[in-house]
């Protein structure tokens, strides 16, 4: 099993990160107004590392992922600012032709619903071969051999039979294996995985996560893992970015984040999580619900749901450094969450009652 170290594995800290997102703003013009889905986020990912972007629906994590590959329809979407640097090259300025060499070249992506990303009228073998031929110089028969090789690499059962099958003939787990095979066939340096196991059963999820880990180790890929599941984060990530309402609220190494969550939202996520590894304790739900992206509050966007909010939270909170590499966007970051996330209840004494008023 791979060790997760506090220090970046192998990479020296002065090297340029593989992926660097600087103050990215991705907005959408909607009938309800301007939706600031991603609103000034920054993080970076080193080669060979796994960064999990975690958050609930509408926090902007998927828009972040799609922004990197510029897979968003524009309009209604638009880049309102910021940079996405892959090896120092800003993907936002890239002309369409060069973009093509990034997608399915340096960067591959797998999605939550492998069924919808595969073309139903072509066989699995055909689709993977197509992807290979698009980016690598080889003959059709060589490509066929390569298809079998990648299917074996992702431990697809009976690969010789699968190449002739259509997506509907495969189970969800097999389809996701096929998607990973397709992604690996480009030999990407960055794999973006958007909720790759959310649609799968738990035993299949475990197998796919194992597969992602082993292939990552073998190829030295960086993985940007988009997920809502803190269990998956704990298993997979080296570093974690927590997003809320289009912003990054906390960034840390995975051990650090789970040991010392330092944003009230992160702490709230932990405390509202039913645990499979403990006997039941009462859950502390976060009051209210996520604000609409057309109507985010000013200042701290979590303040309306936060047990610790004060008048100061109407101002934009700064990023406070908790420990080297661990930052939290909260005025009171240093006071949040001493001790373990579950057993310190001292701070959450003034939880607001849940009401229907927030709609």
């Amino acid at each position: 099993m791979r060790e997760k170290n506090a220090e970046p594995a192998g990479a020296s800290s002065d090297r340029r990160p593989l992926l660097e997102i600087i103050d990215l703003k991705t907005y959408f013009r909607t009938d309800e107004g301007l939706a600031r889905a991603v609103d000034g986020i920054s993080f970076s990912l080193d080669a060979g590392r796994t960064l999990a972007v975690v958050g609930e629906s509408g926090c902007g994590k998927t828009v972040t992922a799609l922004s990197i590959l510029r897979l968003l329809p524009m309009p209604p979407g638009e880049f309102a600012g910021g940079k996405i640097l892959l090896d120092g090259r800003n993907l936002i300025d890239l002309p369409p032709r060069e973009l093509h060499s990034i997608r399915g070249g340096d960067v591959a992506m797998i999605f939550q619903e492998p069924g919808t990303s595969l073309n139903p009228v072509f066989t699995i073998g055909n689709q993977i071969a197509e992807a290979i031929l698009l980016h690598r110089r080889m003959s059709r028969s060589e490509a066929r051999g390569e298809v079998l090789r990648v299917l074996k690499e992702v431990r697809m059962s009976e690969p010789e039979r699968r190449v002739h099958q259509y997506p509907h003939e495969l189970s969800g787990g097999m389809k996701q294996r096929a998607m990973i095979a397709m992604a690996l066939s480009y030999n990407p340096r960055l794999l973006i995985a958007d909720e790759p196991t959310t649609a799968l059963d738990v035993t299949i999820q475990a197998r796919i996560l194992d597969l992602l880990r082993t292939t990552q180790a073998k190829h030295g890929m960086a993985v940007l893992l988009i997920t809502h599941d803190l269990g998956v984060v704990a298993e997979m990530a080296d570093d974690v970015v927590v997003m809320y309402a289009g912003r990054v609220v906390e960034k840390a190494n995975v051990m650090e984040l789970f040991a010392k969550p330092s944003h009230p939202y992160t702490l709230g996520l932990f405390r509202s999580l039913p645990r499979v590894d403990h006997e039941s304790e009462p859950l502390e739900a976060i009051a209210g619900s996520v604000p609409q992206p057309t109507n985010f509050p000013t200042g701290c966007r979590f303040k309306d749901r936060c047990y610790a909010a004060t008048a100061k939270c109407d101002e934009e909170p700064p990023f406070v450094e908790i420990a080297p590499g661990h930052t939290s966007a909260c005025w009171y970051a240093t006071e949040v969450g001493h001790g373990s996330p579950r057993h310190d209840h001292a701070i959450a004494t003034s939880e607001k009652p849940i009401s229907g008023e927030e709609t």
């Binding site: 059962s157 599941d229 999580l273 499979v276 039941s280 619900s289 996520v290 709609t359």
Partner: protein, 373 residues
Amino acid sequence: MNVHLPVKPTAPTPSDKKPLLEVVDLKKHFPVRGGVLSRVREWVRAVDGVSFSLERGRTLGLVGESGCGKTTVGRTLLRLIPATAGRVTFNGEPVFDLSRRRVRDLRRNMQIIFQDPYGSLNPRMTVGSIIGEPLRVHGLARGAELRDRIGKLLEKVGFSREVGSRYPHEFSGGQRQRIGVARALALEPNLIVCDEPTSALDVSIRAQVINLLGDLQTTGGISYLMISHDLAVVRHISHDVAVMYLGLIVERASTETLFRHPRHPYSRVLLSAIPIPDPNRHRHRQRVVALDDEIPSPINVPSGCAFHPRCPLYALKNRPKECRELLPELRRIGEDSASLVRCHFAEETDQHLAKPTLENKDDGSKGSGGATK
């Protein structure tokens, strides 16, 4: 919601020992039709002989992966779909023998909460009329009394009375699910079948619904059949758990027994697959893995024990004949009389397969680690 009642209330010692719900050998087979005459070509054995009972004020978790039949169990016992065979007794009444009118009375006491809080609320009705509908249909309240009861139900699930005049689209997923709970509560049922009630919800919202269900059980003594693939939710709110695989219960035990010491090889595979939200735990964990990722189709259920083609214990024991040929009984195991397991070799699970070691301070040995990694 400041003060939380105990998560799992200890059930009141039942004065009459009779369970609220008793399910005996329930079967549901769906026909697969084909050809010009759409003849029945084969049968999907979705539920193939499920038995369990549920006492008042308690929660039974029914877990398993897609296609195991857990959802079909819930719908069949509520008579939302007809059963193929079996017997269900609710409050002493034989559910499958009742006339349609009696079924309607029965439904007053048995309600269901669905997974999808978007699909299960009529978008053209106000929240108030959605919640009041069961009361109207059963002729239990009207006029001012109806409005009052709707208001009380809204308050019970954490809303103010005023939201009754709004429409479902004005609410978030978690709020809609609470509306679904209010509707299920309207008739003051004894049993609520919860079919993946929190799967569509975000973490922070999920906790609101889970707490609500727990509080209602403590105050109202409701029983829940909690159908879910989310084992963390099930551990959190169930007193007992039944694990299903291909139409059958393969293990049933008290929640703590099941999570600490599962005996069926499939339960071990399932529990050891759950990602634990603790990066330290993950490193020291041994996984028990099934031999094949793919669950066989319920059209062609394997002979003998349905799990044998994927079973790590079967492989480690050099493929004993009984596993292939003989369907194991659901039998008692261990000191706890409530623990039942459907495996010929359940006594040897510990010897060959690692425990799921979910807890930090897990008791007992780690097992030999035979089929683990």
